[in-house]
Amino acid sequence: MRRRPGIGGLQTAAAARDQYRLLGENVAKLRTDLMKEQLSTFRSQLEDFARKHKNDIRKNPVFRSQFHEMCAKVGVDPLASNKGFWAELLGIGDFYYELGVQIVDICLATRPHNGGLINLEELCKILSQRRKGAREAVSEDDCLRAISKLKVLGSGFEVITVGKRKLVRSVPTELKKDHNEILELSQAQGFVTVEEVERRLSWPTGRAIDALDTLLDEGLAMIDDGHRDGKRRYWFPCVSSISSFVASDTL
């Protein structure tokens, strides 16, 4: 098309641009509305779902964890605040705060024995023993959620993964790589010997002894000189199931 000169041509072009823009805006608005509608439908359905399965969510730990997963996918955090719709509907905010308080309690009570590092499994077991009267069962997933909420307190509660196990740390000690490796090694029998550390990790003697001494000083390890072979064993209460026994005796 031959470009038409003059003011008329310019005006036509401007008008056409306006038309396009309008059309574009309309399309965008339609899409947004549709999206908004879909989201609100989704939200209301999620709410319906939550309302309908309220008891399951409160009582069944597996169901609860799946529900959390679903919420996370659509960007809803039922624990974000204790006020608001979710907390009112489900009361799960309170549930996790209660767990949090009990977890802090258990960690403090067992600290003299395990040096502030406790197996998640053990923690969960003690927690369940303590909550025998409560209606809701508690899973490891619940513990992890409650602990993640404790982080806002800045008190150094953290979950660390050592080998196959998850350990909950309630002291601000920073575990170095060497210590982690020893803890991982100890998971097989609950203890290690200097010799074993040297052999399995190919460390020189000094390095193994240094790391073990630190773990002793931190209260994370205990020595055992009583074995027939005369070799000193370093036991780690945080990886042995014994911690729950001692803890439940003293709690």
Partner: protein, 179 residues
């Protein structure tokens, strides 16, 4: 749970490192604490008054995990009890230890209660009667160590609650209550 006779044992008893005196102070304090509780608890339920350090005392070894306390650990735990006023060394070389699972003054209170409950306020009894008579059966007093009993009675004598009188032999040593 493992038992020793009728005594329920705490779970730390099955955890080998608790049988080695711990080098780190805080850990050792915790270790000593649980051992003190176990020893007192065991002596109370089994009515043990004297522990000989070199003798076979059931708590000093756990065959199930093949561990036993060495002399140093035994002495450390008992010394801690002595510091708490819950035990006394019976000799300078610390070979025997008297365990006061009730303190002497608590024993004195128990004896007073026993006197009241049995209406013995003005009676005369021999030491042996108190320790092994029908009246004391079923109480902590029954079968109690003679030394500990005498100490408690002396305390009561000082408070004017009774008078101890000596017979011709230790068999007819006795007390006159005047509560």
């Amino acid at each position: 749970m493992q038992t020793l006779g009728e005594h329920k044992l705490p779970h730390f008893f099955n955890y080998p490192p608790y049988f080695t005196l711990q080098p780190v102070r805080e850990t050792r304090e915790k270790q000593i604490q649980v051992w003190k509780e176990l020893i007192l608890d065991y002596c109370r339920t089994q009515k043990v008054f004297i522990i000989g350090l070199e003798q076979d005392f059931p708590l000093f070894s756990n065959p199930a995990i093949e561990r036993s306390l060495n002399h140093e650990a035994r002495e450390a735990f008992l010394s801690a009890l002595v510091l708490d006023g819950r035990a006394e060394w019976m000799d300078k070389s610390h070979r025997q230890c008297l365990i006061l699972w009730h303190r002497i003054k608590d024993w004195a209170d128990i004896i007073l209660r026993f006197v009241n409950e049995n209406g013995l306020e003005d009676s005369v009894m021999t030491i042996e009667e108190i320790r092994s008579g029908i009246e004391s059966r079923g109480t902590d007093i029954h079968g109690m160590d003679r030394t500990v009993l005498m100490r408690a009675l002396k305390l009561l004598e000082n408070k004017g609650k009774l008078a101890i009188f000596k017979g011709t032999s230790t068999d007819d040593e006795g007390v006159k209550f005047s509560v």
